[in-house]
C-alpha cells in the first residue's frame, strides 16, 4: 500500500491532466505562487527541545535557539486547462522526517462538474480542523503558529485519495461540504527514556466530512475524520491498531478589526477491546486579537487533555499554553510576528524531552518566537 499511494495519485493526476489537455481550446493558464516563513525560536529550558510538530525530531532550547522549528517554504502551481479541468501542485520544505528536503505536499487534478460541485483526485490536504488547509501559510494567519495543543495530535498534513466538494447557499450562508476518502502515512518522533524514536502513523481506510458555513464576518465549522484500522508503530513495540476518530467544532469571527477564533477537538480511539481509548484526548483553544491599522496584538489560550495510555511518559497530565503576540504587516506581502508563550504540563507533542524526569515533573516553560511570513 505504501508505494501504491503516490503512484495512484500520479496516475490519476496524469489521467485528469490528459483529459484536460484533450479538451483544450486555448493554452492552459499557469499561475505560480509561493509562501514561506523565516522564524527563530528559543526557550528558557535546556531540559527539553521545543518543536512545532510531532514530525520534528529536534527543536529549540535555552542555550540553542533554532531556525528550524518554524522556517518553511512552499511553492505552488495552479494550472487551469478550461472551465472544467484544473490541477494544483505544491512542493513544501520544512523540518520534518529528520530533514528539510522538499516534499510533494499536494498534486491533484480537479474537475468542476458545475457551479456547485467539484471532484479532486490525487494528493490533497485533509480538512481535519478549521485551519488545517492553510496551517503552513503563516501570512494567512494572525498568530505565529497554530496552537499545538489542538493541532499536534493529527500528524499527517496530506492524504492520497478522492475528494468531493459541494457548495450551497442556505439562509444567506455559503455552505461548503467536503467529503474525502483515501489513505495517509506520516513519520512521527516520540521519546522513550531520553531516546528519540522514529515511528510511523498510517491509515489506509480514511474518510472525512467537513462542513463550513460562511457569511459576512462569521465562519462556522464542523468536521469528522475517521481512519479505520489505523496503525501507529514504533520500533521494538507492538503496533497500536484501532479506529482513530477526530471530531472538531470551530468558529471564527472577524469584522476587520476584531478577530475571535475557537475550536474544540475530540479524539476517540476505538481499539476493539484491549486498546480502547488508547489515544483519547480533548483539546480546545480560544484566540482573540484586535487590529490597530497594520499592528495586531493577540492572545491565545490552548488546552490539551490526554485520557488514553498512549500519552506515555509518566503522568497523563493536561498541557496548556498561554500565548501573547503581535502581528505587524510591515510591508506589502510581508508580516512580522513575535510571540511569547508559557507552557504548562506535558503532552509529549510539543517537547522532545532530553532530561530525565522532565516529563514527570512537567515544569512550566517559556517559549520566545519571532517570524517573518511572506507570500509571493
Amino acid at each position: 500500500m505504501k508505494l501504491q499511494a503516490p503512484f495512484c495519485s500520479a496516475l490519476a493526476f496524469a489521467a485528469l491532466t490528459t483529459a484536460g489537455q484533450s479538451a483544450l481550446a486555448s493554452p492552459p493558464d499557469l499561475h505560480v505562487s509561493g509562501f514561506g516563513t523565516l522564524g527563530y525560536v528559543t526557550t528558557d529550558t535546556n531540559e527539553a527541545e521545543f518543536r512545532s510538530s510531532a514530525r520534528q525530531h529536534k527543536g529549540a532550547t535555552d542555550s540553542s535557539g533554532d531556525w528550524g522549528v518554524d522556517s518553511r517554504l512552499g511553492l505552488q502551481a495552479n494550472v487551469t486547462f478550461n472551465s472544467v479541468f484544473s490541477a494544483v501542485g505544491q512542493v513544501f520544505a520544512s523540518r520534518r522526517d529528520k530533514d528539510y528536503s522538499p516534499d510533494v505536499e499536494w498534486l491533484f487534478g480537479q474537475a468542476n462538474l458545475n457551479e456547485w460541485a467539484s471532484v479532486r483526485v490525487g494528493r490533497m490536504v485533509l480538512p481535519t480542523f478549521l485551519v488545517s488547509d492553510s496551517r503552513h501559510v503563516g501570512y494567512a494567519m494572525h498568530w505565529l503558529r497554530v496552537p499545538m495543543e489542538a493541532y499536534a495530535s493529527y500528524i499527517p498534513t496530506s492524504f492520497d485519495g478522492v475528494q468531493g466538494i459541494f457548495r450551497a447557499e442556505l439562509a444567506g450562508y455559503n455552505i461548503t461540504t467536503q467529503l474525502s476518502a483515501g489513505q495517509s502515512e506520516a513519520k512521527l518522533y516520540s521519546v522513550r527514556e531520553q531516546t528519540v524514536l522514529s515511528g510511523t502513523t498510517e491509515g489506509d481506510e480514511m474518510v472525512s466530512l467537513n462542513l463550513v458555513a460562511e457569511r459576512g464576518d462569521w465562519t462556522l465549522r464542523a468536521g469528522y475524520t475517521l481512519s479505520r484500522n489505523h496503525e501507529v508503530q514504533f520500533p521494538g513495540s507492538p503496533a497500536v491498531k484501532g479506529d482513530d476518530g477526530f471530531t472538531g467544532l470551530g468558529v471564527k469571527y472577524d469584522n476587520g478589526s476584531l478577530l475571535v477564533q475557537s475550536e474544540y477537538i475530540l479524539r476517540r480511539w476505538n481499539g476493539r477491546g484491549a486498546q480502547d481509548g488508547y489515544f483519547d484526548s480533548d483539546a480546545y483553544y480560544l484566540s482573540a486579537g484586535y487590529r490597530f491599522g497594520a499592528v495586531m496584538p493577540y492572545a491565545t489560550f490552548s488546552h490539551f487533555r490526554p485520557d488514553g495510555e498512549g500519552y506515555s511518559t509518566g503522568d497523563r497530565r493536561n498541557a496548556q499554553t498561554t500565548a501573547i503576540g503581535v502581528r505587524w504587516d510591515a510591508v506589502r506581502n510581508l508580516a512580522l510576528k513575535a510571540q511569547v508563550e508559557e507552557a504548562r504540563g506535558f503532552s509529549g507533542l510539543q517537547y522532545v524531552p532530553v532530561a530525565a524526569g522532565f516529563a514527570a515533573r512537567a515544569p512550566s516553560t517559556h517559549i520566545f518566537s519571532i517570524a517573518a511570513d511572506f507570500v509571493f
Binding site: T80, M124, A140, M141, G172, G256
Partner: protein, 134 residues
C-alpha cells in the same frame, strides 16, 4: 533624469492621491445582471462565495485599496492574507487583476456571470451598476 523626475512626480501624485478623498466607485455587472447587496459583494470578493467571475484592479492601485475598504472594510494586507488562505489551500484563485477600468468594463460586458468595479466616471451603457458604494 527625465525618468527620475517622472518617478518623483509619480510618487508625489501617489501620496496626493491617497490623501485625497476616496474614489467614487460603482460595482458593475453584465447588462442582464441583477442588483446585489454590499454583503453579497463582500462575500464574493473575500472568497466566501464562488458563484461569479470576479475582476479586480491592480493590487498596487488606489482604486483596489478604496474598493476593498468601502465594500469589505478590509485593508490591502488583510485582503492579501484572506486570499493567501484560499489560494494556498487549493480552494480557488484570487480575482483576475486587470490594468484599468476600460479593461474591467470590457470583461464584464462580455460575460453574464462577471462582476467588476470601476470609477463612476468610467461608467457607460455597456455594463450595469449592481451596487453603488457611496
Amino acid at each position: 533624469m527625465i525618468i527620475v523626475k517622472s518617478l518623483i512626480a509619480a510618487v508625489l501624485l501617489g501620496c496626493l492621491g491617497s490623501a485625497a478623498l476616496a474614489a467614487d466607485i460603482v460595482v458593475i455587472g453584465h447588462p442582464s445582471a441583477e442588483a446585489m447587496t454590499k454583503e453579497r459583494i463582500a462575500d464574493l470578493y473575500l472568497g466566501k462565495s464562488h458563484t461569479a467571475t470576479l475582476y479586480d484592479h491592480r493590487e498596487s492601485s488606489a482604486l483596489y485599496a478604496d474598493f476593498y475598504q468601502q465594500a469589505t472594510g478590509r485593508d490591502v494586507a488583510q485582503v492579501k492574507s484572506t486570499w493567501s488562505r484560499i489560494v494556498f489551500s487549493g480552494r480557488g484563485q484570487a480575482p483576475k487583476q486587470l490594468p484599468d477600468s476600460a479593461a474591467v468594463k470590457k470583461a464584464v460586458a462580455d460575460n453574464p456571470k462577471a462582476i467588476g468595479y470601476i470609477e463612476r466616471a468610467a461608467l457607460d451603457n455597456t455594463v450595469k451598476v449592481i451596487l453603488e458604494l457611496k
